[in-house]
């Protein structure tokens, strides 16, 4: 009894720690006063202004598109890389993993600088494509890091058993291996997506003058003084994710119940 309430208290404390800033942002989005320290009454003004602000909306759509594309491509490349590494000799695999870990172990700032130098040398125009390539590059290690432990803890005999029982390698993979590594693939994808959504440093060095993601937009606004529209936007993003969360958790439960019946 005591143990379980200590656990609940601990979870609650971490929960408060994680959510206090978010609640603050949401409350501020309804604050009529421009000052961040004072409450000036309830208003929806910032929400109206947000939807009239084309610059912020463009930055939002860039951010979402780049996050989705880069994390999907990175999940694909990363998962295939994990599969191919299983067939490699120990030493080759160690070298591959070493190189894989570089963007993650390396400073983001160095990755950003190095890609900037590459794109300049290649004579590429800085814009959407350079940001996308950079995001895929730093996302892949997160996918591999999340998928690889699943492979390590996998029993190779089950895959071989499937082959012995006449399954093609592809079928054996999707029927036997894939369900086991799926949690790793999903958490890798989620991690890649959030990393991309959140990235400021690498985008900062690989973006062109005409294009902005939310992070670079906010950074340039911090210098001028942050606009309350940004709080409104973060409240909307948070609510959207929350809705998604309930959908993701509610729908599978429904299916399970149906199956049991």
């Amino acid at each position: 009894m005591i143990k379980s309430s200590v656990r609940k208290l601990y979870i609650a404390l971490i929960f408060i720690f994680l959510y206090a800033p978010i609640v603050t942002l949401m409350v501020l989005s309804f604050n009529a006063s421009r000052s961040r320290a004072k409450w000036g009454g309830f208003t929806l003004k910032w929400y109206r202004e947000l939807f009239q602000n084309e610059v912020i909306l463009a930055a939002l759509s860039n951010t979402l598109l780049i996050a989705l594309l880069s994390s999907l491509i990175a999940t694909l490349i990363g998962t295939i890389a994990c599969i191919s590494m299983q067939a490699m000799k120990r030493r080759t695999r160690a070298v591959m993993m070493g190189v894989t870990n570089i963007p993650m172990l390396n400073a983001e700032i160095v990755t950003g600088i190095s890609l900037m130098l590459l794109f300049i040398t290649l004579g590429m125009k800085f814009g959407f494509l350079t940001i996308l390539l950079a995001h895929i590059t730093f996302n892949i290690p997160y996918v591999i890091l999340s998928v690889m432990p699943r492979f390590k803890q996998l029993n190779p005999s089950t895959y071989e058993a499937a082959l012995d029982l006449g399954a093609s390698p592809l079928r054996a993979f999707f029927m036997v291996v894939f369900p086991d590594i799926l949690p790793g693939v999903v958490s890798g994808f989620l991690m890649a997506f959030t990393m991309s959504l959140d990235d400021f440093i690498i985008t900062h060095f690989t973006k062109g003058p005409g294009i902005d993601t939310l992070s670079t937009k906010i950074y340039s606004e911090v210098k001028k003084g942050i606009k309350p529209e940004m709080y409104a936007l973060s409240a909307i993003i948070f609510t959207a994710v929350l809705v998604l969360l309930f959908l993701v958790n509610y729908i599978p439960k429904e299916n399970k119940e149906k199956k049991e019946k």
């Binding site: 720690f17 994680l18 295939i80 160690a94 870990n101 570089i102 993650m104």
Partner: protein, 270 residues
């Protein structure tokens, strides 16, 4: 087996976007503006300004990594011990804050910690002394812990959920108490996750310049701030690259330590 052929796209990617760009940083760091070889950009770390920035960055990132580990491990254990049906929901709850923009979250902490900010208003209301940690190292470390905590929780949680409960039950059946079971079964088996977590927290903390700018009031310069300024303000790419090489040496030390603890990259060496 043609599984090796599957590695082709990945090999191309890491060569073009990891190996070659890093070679270019090395080239810039080891040459001067005329293209001649020099070590000047590397030796520049020894100046008082640069070495202080590096030392502070190492200190802060070590402290925040330890705090993250101490907070995350019990949390991951509690989460892993929950009913299966709650797993994805709870994990999502703890990733959810990461969906908020990193800069906005850090700005929010600024709002909370300010002298006339939310926390001090609450403390003042309760007639408690005000908290003055904004623009201090404590605020920067708090910002680091807040931003990087989920990166510690997730890998530990992932490796804990993969542990076969029968192994733990067997240990208990054989007479191990809960401390022994933890020290000799759970902890060693979750080590790959712990090591991933440490890596994922330490490096971004070591190299950040945004957190120190927003919560440190630009008074406390980390090595990341110095490098960023070389590239964006001073425009000296050679010096910036040289300092980056020094930074990479520290990351290399981190990699070697990781390799020692995580022998032959298998993670489950124990």
């Amino acid at each position: 087996m043609n599984r090796k052929a599957l590695s082709a796209p990945y090999l191309f990617w890491i060569t073009a976007f990891i190996v070659i760009p890093l070679g270019m940083v090395l080239y810039y760091g080891l040459t001067d503006k005329t293209g001649a070889f020099t070590l000047e950009n590397i030796i520049a770390i020894a100046t008082a300004e640069h070495s202080k920035a590096l030392w502070i960055a190492i200190k802060f990132s070590l402290e925040s990594t330890v705090i993250c580990l101490l907070l995350a491990y019990p949390l991951a254990m509690i989460l892993a011990g929950m009913q299966i049906s709650q797993h994805s929901f709870i994990v999502f709850i703890f990733i959810l804050p990461m969906w908020m923009n990193f800069l906005l979250r850090t700005l929010a902490w600024q709002t909370l910690l300010e002298k006339s900010g939310v926390i001090n208003n609450i403390l003042g209301f309760l007639h408690l002394p005000a908290l003055n940690i904004i623009n201090t190292p404590a605020a920067i470390i708090l910002g680091m812990v807040y931003n990087f905590l989920p990166f510690m929780v997730l890998p530990i949680y992932n490796s804990l959920t993969k542990i076969d409960p029968n192994v733990i039950n067997a240990a208990r059946d054989l007479g191990a108490n809960s401390v022994q079971t933890f020290a000799r079964i759970t902890l060693p088996l979750s080590l790959p996750g712990v090591i991933s977590g440490i890596t994922m927290v330490f490096v971004p903390a070591l190299t950040t310049f945004v957190i120190s700018t927003l919560l440190g009031g630009s008074k406390i310069l980390l090595i990341g701030n110095v490098i960023e300024q070389e590239f964006t303000q001073a425009g000296n790419w050679h010096l910036g690259s040289g300092l980056s090489i020094v930074l990479m040496l520290f990351i290399l030390i981190n990699m070697i330590l990781t390799a020692i603890f995580d022998k032959d990259g298998e993670g489950n060496a124990l």
